[in-house]
């Protein structure tokens, strides 16, 4: 299965001065139209038709994106995973001074992201190739 992805800066999402995590990808406190809990269904990405990435996208992206430009850091728009220190984190696929890496960065609901920070969103699965009959 192949996933189509989109790379967008925080400013591209309509936040020229940066934005909070919940404004970009939503939060645990999101609710649906009826007021029922609907975690991570909000955020600006919904208005753009962007989906959150599956948790295992980043390890695969890190392997497949071998020609990532030096200095680039791609934040994965995913439902944060809370680790043993109690902090929710998301992946960052980065090309730093020590090479390609799969980093983890805190993504609390109120954490602020800079306008130039790049997020990777999912556009859904690539359409399956039509079978020949």
């Amino acid at each position: 299965m192949k996933l189509r992805i989109a790379l967008l800066r925080v400013s591209d999402l309509g936040f020229p001065e940066g934005a909070l995590t919940r404004e970009i990808i939503g939060s645990d406190n999101d609710r649906d139209l009826f007021g029922h809990p609907a975690p991570f269904t909000g955020g600006r990405r919904r208005e753009f038709g962007l989906e959150l990435c599956p948790h295992d996208l980043a390890p695969h992206l890190c392997l497949e994106y071998a020609d990532q430009p030096a200095g680039e850091r791609l934040h994965i728009a995913m439902k944060p995973i809370t680790l043993s220190d109690g902090e929710p984190r998301i992946f960052v696929v980065a090309h730093g001074p020590s090479g390609l890496s799969l980093d983890a960065v805190r993504a609390k609901s109120d954490d602020r992201w800079a306008p130039d920070d790049i997020f990777v969103f999912s556009l859904g699965r690539e359409p399956e190739a039509q079978e020949q009959t």
């Binding site: 392997l63 680790l83 043993s84 220190d85 902090e87 980093d103 983890a104 954490d111």
Partner: protein
């Protein structure tokens, strides 16, 4: 822009190695394996509850992850030095089994062993002469 809230990236350009290993492990779990972090980290990194409708459904166990950028491998075993003895004793005191996972962050590979299989005898565990123990996880796992 609210100046009281610092931007996230500048304060945390690189996370702790252990966090990267934990996040990698939690992200690679099969569908239906629910990762639950502890309320306080006292020697276990989390709990996994399997809710996948298979014969493993409802199985629950603890997890301790040891992350390294380049793990030491000797005689077919991944060697993890300086593991807190009190943490290991905690695994044995707990009613839940603990899966100990060694993560190689560079190669994004993991090896695992149940805590009960890590020691040949309880003597090794309860000798109080050192505060740490060395764990060896078979490379075949």
């Amino acid at each position: 822009m609210n100046k009281d809230i610092p931007t996230n990236q500048s304060g945390e350009a690189h996370s702790h190695l252990g966090d990267q290993g934990e996040l990698w492990f939690a992200a690679m779990l099969p569908a239906g394996w629910a990762w639950q972090p502890p309320r306080r980290d006292l020697g276990k990194d989390g709990l996994i509850v399997i809710r996948d409708g298979t014969k493993l459904h409802n199985i629950e166990f603890s997890i301790q992850i040891k992350t390294s950028a380049r793990p030491t491998i000797v005689d077919g075993h991944v060697v993890i030095p300086s593991v807190s003895r009190s943490s290991v004793q905690y695994w044995f005191a707990s009613p839940l089994p603990t899966l100990v996972v060694a993560v190689d962050l560079t190669k994004r590979t993991g090896w695992f062993a149940w805590h009960l299989d890590l020691f040949r005898s309880p003597k090794e565990l309860f000798q109080p002469n050192t505060k740490t123990v060395t764990i060896r996880i078979p490379q075949a796992n």
